[in-house]
Symmetry: C2
Subunit: 469 residues, 2 copies
């Protein structure tokens, strides 16, 4: 009489689409653009090709409730996908290529799929994905079997590819409300351009208006390399998984072979501290020894610092350039950019970069007080500011008065956190959880930048006083 | 060279446990208590038995990082579970009994499982679930196969049940930090007691301290009844699913048989408006007709108001009693409780109840200004206040000065939203999305209560003035 049942992952997100960011028709437009554009940027960066991305939103029909039906179409010159992967990548939740330990915007394996799901349930129209990795061009027309979390292929055409085109085109129909989200959407595109100046973005909105964000540089950031996990991130589950596939015949070989930052001497020292024999076979570790190992690994201070080759920070030079251009700063304004060394939380490497800006240009554009601009893995975060860790640091951890900043000072704080795992609190990637190590790093990098800010402000105050005499 | 793969739902939440609310060791304690207590309250209310719930958190060991290992144990006198359902209910993500259209705290089919998963990955200890529906008592010791999202049964004992006990005991070990979350946790328990005065809750904390929330009444709220969906909630996906199982041989029979609020005349009128023949076989509906039907259903004004027998509002009487007791109000204080008629959003029925309180007692307990106390389906919401729809309404939609409320007025605003589907924006149920209809209803109910508040404040001001002369 009580009925127990299970549901598929796509059914879960069909029933709870607000959880994925599709909370109302205007947010749905934002979420859809975000998910598709981030997939295209990832795909272009993956092969270090300067992105050329075309995004078009066309109104098909308006309805009484204020919402409209749009065609959303995005085209990129990225990696493309192998034809046998296209159906699952786009029409299956929890399927993707970004489950590895290297920085990318995508991470969950569901963003593109849920955008397609939302389009399907609001318009009953299939999605068309056209893609090539350099060979034939494959065009799939598909829908999602929501109860089974599986793709349904309605049509599959194979076309020749004389020009050797490589990339992906996604076209779908969806219900939405562009007018209510327009200004936020344009902010998202502007901020994307600010931290990805090598990308050339074109957006045509339902009114037919064209927005072009031109390429500022051809220099692509270095490609993040997949890395081994850092031992600070060992937990009983990933230990168990590694043991089931390892070829290591001793715990020493296991530690040096499966983790970064563990040399031969370090492995000896660590295992001795954890009370585990060097020669112990990994598969013979008892549960209580595994727990001891995990606890000891977290506290052990002598593993090498994390390998940051899996990360792709914006870099002080590009960040400064992008901010100067985006905020229109002059030499009368102050700008200080600081990029910290890599750190880890739960074994995941991360880097925090920040910029503080103030001065007459800032005072003109922004009201007095602090404006925060946030990024995570180069994704602009525009919602739920006060729920996230950056807001907490700026408003609670930094004592701005000690840096000569008053509530009247117009200031822009830019923070970028990049990691192999951003601690997002929501599937819609709206804001980050207040992970203790991440919070500490953001606090430290802002304090470092604020020291330069203090000098600038005290000097400006002094210059102002002398001018008045 | 690009590797595509899929992951299971439990693997997704293992990798992204912040998404489920387990963002750091202190929040993990809060999330675990929430998920287990809400399961127990649902189970007791399901059979209209006044809940007797015992929750104990025992410290097993402390670690250097400030976190500890706890044993968490909760016991209830609820429905219990059939023995063949226990493994999947507790050790499989997206499995449960609350996927029906009736109000309950649980809704996603994952809260208890993720709590058990968190305990398992931080301590490598299995969970023990003991339960009976009145017959034999079954005791399962289990772990989750995270990569497959399946239960692993380590032990299964069947015990006699002479006393005919019915209920469930869950015991697990987990890492956490109780001291950092203690005060919020106690607020959660107090507010739970405030809106569930028929529940008897006992909590023993790691320090051995006992907190008892005694039963205030034996009157259980009426049991929410499962209902048919309301036609405003038709979308192409659920239409398609109904068509594949329906026995209706005409669209008229389909509308009256599968939905609430559609009588014979209403079905005729609606189908005529949508341009669909009464006698059309549901299975022969073309895609474009389905879309027309869905659009027309959303705008159609003449379906009956939603059937609220699936809802369980607190009710003005119980809410008033609970608030008076919880806030310690006297007859010098003002309290106005308003409960609105049911409304729908996307076809889901919902009710908003609110209470406004001010006066000398409020001024003593709370600083000047507004304190918001939020509930969704009787669950206290204590985090991310400014991200949710209630905060938006209180701070943006209500012009408090027109109700004589100044920034100096000490005021408590209590809001309870109950629905067959709460528009949570997060898996951790922290706050609600600003669904337009829900936002509108909250705005209207607060305005209604605020009109009485205005009279009270203007009268108090007048009395104060006359006293000064
Ligand atoms: N434009 C594209 N070009 C190349 N590959 C793509 C493109 N869009 C999607 N993909 C592939 O499809 C997969 C699934 O995409 P989806 O957006 O659903 O998840 P994701 O990007 O991996 O993670 P997230 O949910 O965080 O976005 C990606 O991992 C990628 O391999
Ligand atoms: N104490 C309990 N007594 C009886 N049944 C329980 C109890 N705890 C869990 N269950 C059963 O196990 C199922 C799964 O619980 P779980 O908490 O994982 O999901 P849920 O409560 O359905 O949804 P949510 O994720 O929103 O909490 C429940 O639907 C319920 O049927
Ligand atoms: Mg993606
Ligand atoms: Mg639950």
């Amino acid at each position: 009489e009580i009925v127990y049942q299970s549901i598929s992952p796509s059914d879960f997100f069909y029933r709870n689409r607000e959880i994925a960011g599709f909370s109302n028709p205007s947010r749905a437009v934002y979420a859809a653009v975000r998910e598709l554009l981030e997939n295209s940027l990832d795909a272009c960066e993956r092969q270090r090709v300067p992105p050329d991305i075309f995004l078009r939103l066309t109104e098909v029909s308006a309805s009484e409730g204020g919402t409209s039906i749009y065609i959303m179409r995005i085209e990129d010159n990225g990696t493309g996908l192998p034809s046998d992967q296209i159906p699952s990548a786009f029409c299956r939740v929890f399927y993707g290529s970004k489950y590895t330990l290297q920085q990318s915007r995508g991470t969950f394996g569901l963003g593109g799929t849920i955008t397609i799901l939302y389009g399907q349930i609001t318009t009953h129209q299939p999605v068309t994905v056209t893609s090539s990795t350099g060979g034939d061009i494959h065009e799939f027309t598909m829908m999602i079997d929501i109860e089974r979390n599986e793709p349904m292929i309605l049509k599959h055409k194979v076309l020749g590819n004389k020009k050797g085109w490589r990339g992906t085109v996604v076209q779908l129909q969806m219900e939405g409300d562009y007018s209510r989200i327009k200004s936020r959407l344009l902010d998202y595109l502007k901020q994307t351009a600010m931290v990805s100046p090598y990308a050339d973005l074109t957006f045509v909105d339902p009114g037919g208006r064209l927005y072009r964000f031109e390429r500022g540089t051809d220099m692509m950031p270095p490609l993040p390399q997949p890395v081994k996990p850092h031992p600070h991130g060992i937990d009983v589950e990933n230990f168990r998984r590694l043991v089931s596939v390892t070829k290591a015949r001793s715990m020493k070989e296991f530690m040096t072979g499966h983790f970064q930052g563990v040399g031969s001497k370090t492995a000896d020292k660590f295992l001795k501290l954890a009370g585990i024999g060097n020669r112990t076979r990994p598969s013979s570790m008892k549960p209580e020894d595994i727990v001891t190992l995990v606890r000891a690994a977290r506290e052990f201070k002598d593993f090498k610092r994390p390998d940051a080759s899996c990360l792709s920070p914006i870099g002080e030079e590009l960040l400064e350039k992008g901010i100067r251009k985006e905020l229109g700063l002059t030499e009368n304004d102050f700008l200080k950019v600081v990029s910290r060394k890599p750190s880890t939380y739960l074994g995941f490497p991360f880097i925090v970069e920040t910029a503080l800006a103030t001065g007459p240009t800032i005072r003109k554009q922004y009201k007095a007080g602090t404006t925060i601009i946030r990024f995570a893995n180069r994704i602009p975060l525009l919602f739920d500011e006060s729920s996230g860790v950056i807001w907490k640091v700026v408003n609670r951890n930094i004592h701005w008065d000690t840096y000569n900043v008053s509530s009247d000072t117009p200031m822009v704080v830019v923070v970028h956190v990049c990691s192999t795992k951003i601690p997002y609190k929501t599937v819609g990637k709206e804001y980050m959880a207040d992970q203790p190590e991440v919070e500490k790093e953001i606090t430290n990098v802002i304090r470092t930048a604020a020291r330069s800010l203090r000098l600038f402000i005290s000097r400006s105050i002094r210059i102002e006083r002398e001018r008045r005499r």
